[in-house]
Symmetry: C2
Subunit: 509 residues, 2 copies
């Protein structure tokens, strides 16, 4: 596991790797390249570790791994390496370190912030973990599953289900994204209200550290107060501190009962009041609370007419809520029905529907799931993934909407998201179809409106998508100097050579 | 907030403070003392910051803060300082840093591992946060409460209740312990099964860093993926990285309904099987699962005859479970009754009782709560606070009990704890009342049996009490070199001068 002394972890060399000790030169575009001999030697050793067929170097093979799915980010790498074991990952990291080659860890490449795409001028490799997809162990008594980082989220959900258990993380990319990526970005989704983010679902980790050692922290414990929570340092660090290679995840009882309801609400204040009433009545059995603005619903109606809108309330917002429990079907339904009746009485809702069948419940969810797609079909928008104290949602949306509209009368917003978590997907767009360029030019000003308001109400500029390379600049602008310094200290402590996913999260140097 | 450059955080000076640049000399017992002039100057400045009446120096005043409640740990300090604001804490830290005086943060001084008691030879002050006990803000819409570190846990619970909300952390010392201590030790207790440890209940923190700056991370957000989770670095770090001065904590709906039941079970396997059945049936509405061995029950019967034992099953273990929900009272009771009937049928339980009144429920809990006290009255025991995968509880107890008994026929174990979290309070004692000295001598061997078995089944040597000064040695023995190195790296990154609570958690140098 490497003969490096512990002290090497603490070296305080500059974090930039493009210094004069590196085997790099610059090409005509100012990008760093390795000397061909060093490169040849390095790739030869990569192949020796993983086998020639798992070290991809030709452009056709590597292309899918070098740009993100949206096409917004595109990078270069010496190779895309697909290791088959944790030991191979550790060997690769030591090799990269010896050659001062940077490392971009990658899972399903479904991220929304460019965190898995190479960035910048440093010579790097993509370490793609897709081959490490074993589900190592299900422990139904301990309610845990031990999986490798490259396992697909959907496969973990299926394995849990096969054991009569629930793995609750649920998000749009679940058929393609990997557990490693979910951990690296602390993924969210639609089940956070009850179960928390990926951080809350992770009990233990296996990590290859930046100096190529293996930390075996694969503990399946609910309580473990033995020193600093390294697990929580690596979760959400977006591959900038080490490479997560496996994890122990928590499982839960499956839900035998579900009651899904939809309420047309006049606005955000009514939605949050109704949410509170639902939480008081249903407690932790309230497992989802999703909000859609009237503009979001109009987008679905226009772009995806095949999706049925259960409540015809043209100017209303829609609040979807779901109760899930192992049992309590009868009382659950009674409670939801009483809640909805009260909502109408109190003027919190103008129309309500409680799904009478599984099919109806799916129809309700279909509306929510159609929103991102309908939005995308309407063309370019400036998109935000923000979170706010729930008590500030209304103020933020009102003020931001008003400021945007007062500057540009053609602009409006499409808002939806996980209201129970205070997480809004807030999208600014124009009624004029020909103004994409203009919108792009307006982005900086819109950013200022949105992010300054987010900051003023104590919100977050990235609720669930992370920082990646998309928001490094905003991160610096919004975090205090103290917080940035603390984060940099941790980066320097755990990745002193700055080889782990450079140009992501912290924009150093 | 200090003119220190960010780089100072990364200084790699030796962590020991007793080096030759310090204004210390050694007294006849080899303890470091400050030269009287430096000491005089330092204390003068302390008084200038907090006011003379809040800088305690005479032995009578400082005594209660210099030993832990059990009397096991006792230390020395130049002074006990009781700051009244975060700014004062920051000033004190900068002053201590300038004088190279170590800092021992202290809350309610109810810890079980000596973490809040001065340790070792370095000149230090205790910074006692009891005056900083403001409940800054309750936000009932966002379900959060913002409190200062010195607030009593019981006061936070009461403030939540007054707002119609629940703050679920619950433990024996709740009338005396403080939120800051709960955060620093990542406190557990009886509500972890449903709500998690203190870590899970904390949304944001305010921390005075080791270089005397204030990190304002008081965010009340459920989702915030903007860089490394500093919150999780400080929570559970036992005052060794900085001083937590305030926090935003999550609130939950109160429980309108509770159903409490007690089952006499033949052994641990039956208890864990019944626990699983209860989880399948009740999901997250199962909010407590506490186990007591027959020896624990016998101790209660013998030492505290006023406590009524509801089920007379002399050789049985007892499993207490509780369902809590906002509503669902009828169906909840039906579900519990069906569960208990099935338990008898399947041979998982030999007798069961479902509380018919609040009084009965309290009687059931009274048994569980009497166990630690009854135990203490029986005299000296070697105590362990361990956690294990739930699937390994049986194997651990069987093997450990057998090994102890085979070495010393007079020894037996008293076991109880939070079985739903895999957390056992495992106590080894002797039937002979005169053998305390002998027991102390056996401790090392018993440690080896218990901790080696814990390690072999992937358990933790400290489930909820932390490391403090009590378990530094065991921590080193049980963690891998990689994990210790990573923790040391974090310590050196965030407290490069080693002034924060030296001699705790990591035993450095």
């Amino acid at each position: 596991m490497g003969a490096d002394s512990p002290r090497t972890l603490q070296r305080l060399d500059a974090l930039r790797i493009a210094d004069n000790r590196l085997p790099v030169e610059l090409n005509s575009r100012g990008e760093a390249i390795m000397e061909s001999e060093a490169r040849h030697d390095f790739l030869h050793q990569c192949r020796a570790i993983v086998g020639a067929s798992h070290a991809l170097t030709n452009a056709y093979d590597t292309a899918p791994y070098l740009k993100d799915w949206s096409g917004r980010y595109q990078g270069q790498a010496l190779a895309v390496i697909r290791p088959g074991s944790t030991e191979q990952v550790a060997e690769l990291v030591r090799l990269c370190r010896a050659h001062r080659v940077a490392i971009v860890p990658q899972g399903g490449n479904t991220g929304l912030a460019g965190g898995a795409t190479p960035h910048g001028a440093a010579p790097c490799v993509v370490i793609q973990l897709g081959r490490m997809n074993k589900l190592r162990k299900v422990d139904a008594v301990n309610n845990t599953i031990t999986v490798e980082a490259g396992a697909l989220l959907a496969d973990v959900q299926a394995a849990a289900h096969a054991a009569g258990r629930l793995f609750p993380l649920s998000l749009a990319a679940e058929g393609t994204c990997t557990v490693g990526g979910n951990l690296a970005t602390n993924a969210g989704g639609t089940a956070v209200l009850r179960y928390g983010n990926m951080r809350n679902l992770c009990l233990g980790l296996e990590v290859v550290t930046a100096d190529g050692r293996i930390w075996d922290g694969l503990r399946g414990l609910r309580k473990d107060n033995t020193g600093y929570s390294l697990r929580d340092v690596y979760v959400g660090s977006e591959g900038t501190l080490g490479i997560i290679t496996a994890a122990v995840l928590a499982l839960f009882p499956e839900h035998g009962c579900k009651v899904t309801c939809l309420a047309a609400v006049p606005g955000i204040t009514e939605a949050t009041t109704l949410l509170q009433a639902a939480q008081q009545r249903l407690g932790s059995n309230l497992t989802a609370a999703e909000l859609m603005s009237s503009a979001a619903l109009a987008a679905v109606a226009q772009e995806m007419p095949q999706v049925r809108l259960p409540l015809a309330q043209p100017r209303a917002w829609m609040l979807l809520m779901e109760l899930s429990a192992s049992s309590f079907q009868d009382e659950g339904r009674q409670q939801i029905e009483a809640l909805m009746a009260q909502a109408i009485e109190r003027g919190l809702a103008t129309d309500v529907a409680v799904a009478a069948s599984l099919q109806q419940a799916q129809d309700f969810w279909a509306v929510r799931e159609a929103v991102p797609e309908a939005q995308a079909r309407q063309g370019f928008a400036i998109r935000y993934d923000i979170s706010l104290p729930i008590s500030e949602l209304r103020r933020f949306v009102d003020e931001s909407d008003a400021q945007v509209a007062s500057l540009w009368p053609d602009m409006y917003t499409v808002t939806f998201g996980h209201i129970g978590d205070g997480n809004l997907h807030y999208n600014v767009r124009s009624t004029s179809s020909s103004s994409q360029n203009e919108l792009v030019q307006r982005r900086e000003k819109v950013d200022r409106i949105v992010y300054d308001l987010v900051q003023s109400v104590g919100g977050s500029i990235s609720a669930e998508h992370g920082i990646g390379q998309a928001k490094c600049h905003e991160l610096r602008a919004h975090k205090s100097a103290v917080e940035m310094d603390l984060m940099r200290s941790i980066k320097m402590a755990l990745d002193p050579d700055g080889l782990m996913n450079p140009g992501k999260v912290l924009s150093l140097g």
